[in-house]
Symmetry: C2
């Protein structure tokens, strides 16, 4: 078993415990609200809540760290209000680590309501049309007000395909904004008084060479970790991994890497194999509300008539409340009848499934058997998925929040 | 403190423990799934779930007995399916007592899609328009299939105002249907093998004399308890209590009385003062989803801007998860953002509030101080309610299910 980190580990400390330095790797990331054992999956709590779940549910599901969102919280209820409550942890009653995305991606999804200049991103709120300006500095101020453990720098995100000039331009701007973000962040304090880590986003579009260059230039800055951004935005899965690998090869091994906004259970295992330490994705939560449950034998859709009389739990190997208490038949009835408890229970199950998958991956890395774990889980999951249809597209939460 | 009932108490046994035989009274109602300490409030689980809450939540809120609905469950997922799962308790994973309404009231709300004959109620499903016939016999068969602890006979419900002829006709038909229901129920068995209690509905429209006559004629039948039906359907609150009192005065003291489908916290206390033992109402659950929370100082609406920065819990005297964990400001944020957790937490709080109110009422009856309790709670609740607007109309769940 892995040793506990020394109690003197200060926030920002990242210790590699097992596995190769490059991949796969098991680490300990120290934050102001505790240590995250990596690889780790962050459920998405866009508006300061993981839809349907209480903090106690998230703990029971094995969640170590949550993701929330700068863009959404700045608009509603507002960073100043959350700061006055002592920060997001107090406001939402979650005492574990929190990372916030900087909002660049959500603003990207606003499309025509956005104008990017060197100063920052001018946009209109999706809630009331009010004009807003998010600069690199303001993004960090908001995240300092939220008091989150890990703040992310503002980037210039683009959709693929894009011209080489557009990609280079957005990449260079991201580098400049990262410098501004990190510089300004040093001047800020949090409502908790706890130190904040700062992760920088590596962009670079669809060009592996540019990805590598951007990664190397970002690595030269004094950030606590790296986010791989602008992936899974239109390119093929094979291209995604080529681009991710180009970036990680240029990153130092001693800081954590976070792959933003993807993906399926298989994506997570594939990402771990490539040296990714942190993940987030809306799939387990959003798809739960559409009736999809992830299981060890692949995804199932509870709306399917095949489940109408099925007395089995969603997943016989799962110990979550949904699987301990309820049959597929009952959950199907709830879903078809539009009952809240269906959304809540499928969400609880899916988050538990993701966390169990990650805990298994870490244990496999610790015992030096990740390849076998990766292969066995993937094989079993895909066998059934091939029979029942796949899990649908991955993705990050857009501005409209369907996380 | 009240003594525990003798373990030999068979289902259907109703023992008055404290208070006057007429009102207010504290009783013990034995069922196949345990003893209910009365007076008791039944949260409404129309479709086999109390919207947003798990069975564990319902227990934590102090719930002893649930209400579910024959009409809704016969249409979806179907009584035969639930029987095949060993009954509704197994299907929904609730091991406490369950009472089902017979469906007459829900069908009434279908209006033009209903035709009542002596045989029964012909109607079209609100889900798919399929023609259905609910006879007194079928109502009991469905409830036997559901395996609920307390089944309710089919009645001919009407809306007020109605002509004396209509009221008399519906009342006489209800008497005949009650006889048919009770006679047929004796021939049925439940999937659990546990005995079932049978409650008969007392109708009589807006005429106190007819209410008394119907009560006396129903009391002459071999039923285990009485439901006061057709109240709170258009008449004033004063009229409601005159009609209820006319009925209860003609009922024997040694069988429980259930006031169907109402009401506010004050209604419950007023009903207990008049000898009512069981209540159900959609208010705590439905209003929770509209942002209304019941508190010891009257109802509040969490959408109100006054709560935007309020760090206090919904109710400082409540120990539920919502009040222990979250501020009004956070719950308001969740509600305004349309988050499921708002519905879940306000529902949990409101059910806890209702159950705490009932537990307090029973304790007051036990120590011979109900009048003081009734007066003090009502005074405090109304003071604030007068300042902030009242709790809105009461009501039972209609066919469309907004319970």
């Amino acid at each position: 078993m892995a040793a506990e980190p020394p109690s003197s580990a200060s926030p920002g400390h990242f210790a590699l415990e097992r596995g190769a330095a490059v991949a796969p790797r098991a680490g300990l990331l120290s934050t102001g609200h505790g240590v995250v054992r990596t690889p780790a999956f962050m459920p998405v709590g866009t508006q300061g809540t993981v839809k349907g779940l209480s903090p106690a549910d998230l703990r029971a599901a094995g969640t170590q760290i949550l993701l929330s969102n700068t863009y959404h919280l700045m608009l509603r209820p507002g960073a100043e209000l959350i700061r006055s409550f002592g920060g997001l942890h107090h406001f939402m009653a979650w005492d574990g680590p929190i990372l916030t995305d900087s909002g660049g991606y959500q603003i990207l999804s606003l499309k025509e309501r956005v104008k990017i200049t060197e100063e920052g991103v001018a946009f209109r709120s999706h809630l009331d049309g009010r004009p807003e300006l998010l600069t690199p500095e303001r993004a960090m101020e908001i995240q300092a007000d939220l008091g989150v453990d890990i703040a992310v720098t503002l980037d210039h995100a683009i959709l693929l395909p894009a011209s080489p000039e557009e990609v280079r331009d957005a990449g260079e701007r991201t580098i400049r904004w990262t410098e501004r973000s990190l510089g300004h962040a040093k001047t800020l304090d949090t409502p908790t008084g706890l130190p904040q880590l700062h992760f920088a986003i590596v962009q670079g579009g669809g060009d592996p060479a540019l990805r590598a260059e951007m990664a190397a230039r970002t690595a030269a800055m004094a950030c606590d970790g790296f986010c791989l951004g602008g992936l899974s935005v239109g390119e093929t899965k094979e291209e995604t991994w080529i681009l991710a690998a180009a970036a990680t090869a240029a990153l130092p091994a001693d800081r954590p890497r976070y792959l933003m906004g993807m993906g399926t259970p298989i994506d997570l295992l594939d990402g771990i194999a490539r040296g990714i330490d942190l993940f987030d994705c809306v799939l387990p939560t959003r798809n739960a509300r559409n009736g999809m449950a992830f299981t060890h034998e692949g995804p199932i859709n509870i709306r399917n008539a095949a489940h109408a009389r099925d007395p089995r739990p969603l997943d016989a190997e799962c110990g979550c409340e949904a699987c301990a208490e309820f049959s597929r038949a009952y959950l199907r009835h709830l879903h078809v009848a539009g009952e809240i408890l269906a959304h809540r229970m499928l969400t609880l199950h899916n988050v538990t499934f993701y966390q169990t998958l990650m805990a298994g991956a870490r244990a496999a890395i610790e015992r030096g058997a990740y390849d076998e774990y990766h292969r066995a889980v993937t094989h079993r999951y895909r066998e059934r998925a091939a029979a029942s249809g796949d899990s649908g597209p991955g993705g990050r939460e857009p501005s409209g929040d369907n996380s």
